[in-house]
Point group: C2
Chain length 167, copies 2
């Protein structure tokens, strides 16, 4: 059984990060039974109300299941190794609004002159991000297997290896 793949918009807000943090918390602590959001809220320093919002979406996306009542909480719908980060982000982050030359669609791209020169660029970047977030699972996070992934290959020139942050 292979994990489903999610498409990720080039949009990464704190909402998505909170969701991933909360899901990682669930993966790390909830191996036995359901975990109450109030616990997650304390551990991750996120407000309970906000977490409730996020988990409503996560549940709608089928990533978690809920148990109501005393002793209830949320459980992952699948093993941590089968939940990709891309799915989490896609579940909580709303669709990016398509400005002018939207990534993916060729809207308004009847380019005569220089218009939409950058279309391919954003397309490709979005694809790179998707690939990355689809390659990492919750298990990778709690096992700390994320760092040190190989770099992308530049298109044509033999680019010097990019070592780190400038400045």
């Amino acid at each position: 059984m292979e994990p489903p793949k999610a498409d990720v918009n080039v949009k990464l807000t704190t909402k998505g990060r909170y969701a991933v943090s909360a899901m990682a918390d669930l993966a790390a602590t909830g191996s036995q039974g359901p975990v109450a959001l109030s616990d997650v809220a304390l551990r991750q320093a996120i407000s309970l109300s906000y977490l409730e919002q996020l988990f409503a979406k996560l549940k709608r996306a089928g990533l978690v299941a809920s148990v109501r009542g005393v002793g209830g909480g949320y459980i992952l719908s699948a093993a941590p190794g089968d939940i990709r980060i891309a799915e989490i982000v896609a579940a909580v982050d709303e669709q990016i609004r398509t400005t002018a030359c939207a990534s993916g669609s060729s809207l308004g791209c009847q380019g005569t002159t220089a218009r939409c020169l950058t279309h391919d660029l954003w397309d490709e970047l979005g694809r790179q991000i998707s690939i990355f977030l689809n390659a990492v699972t919750l298990e990778d996070i709690i096992e700390k297997r994320v760092l040190g992934m190989a770099a992308v290959n530049p298109p044509h020139r033999n680019a010097e290896k990019y070592t780190g942050a400038a400045e």
Copy 2:
């Protein structure tokens, strides 16, 4: 002479896209002399006033030079092959505000339990995006050499090749 490298925050708004489009326009049309923003505004369908804002920042970053008066406009400060997309994005997009567990800094990351489990993840993603945007230059864009870059290597599992957008 090697192009400088810029650090890119994990933040990609239309502002950055507009700037890249405008710079690509400049690269494509302005090989002889300065290009007036009014022309760029028409071709790229961006409002002139907004472009002025963006180019003020681009100039401050040293990516373009300006010529005032009749026949004036903006010129690239370097050859298209020496201007990386990352520099453009970094010039116009403000610094991301560091929430809770900021990428790069270890602020608030005195993690006892599960806190900051995702730190490495966002760090690594930011690095991937930086690598990509640092690998692409304006020349690549106008020569359409952007598409078909190699995928990132997943961390540990031998992930199935991600072929495209789901759904």
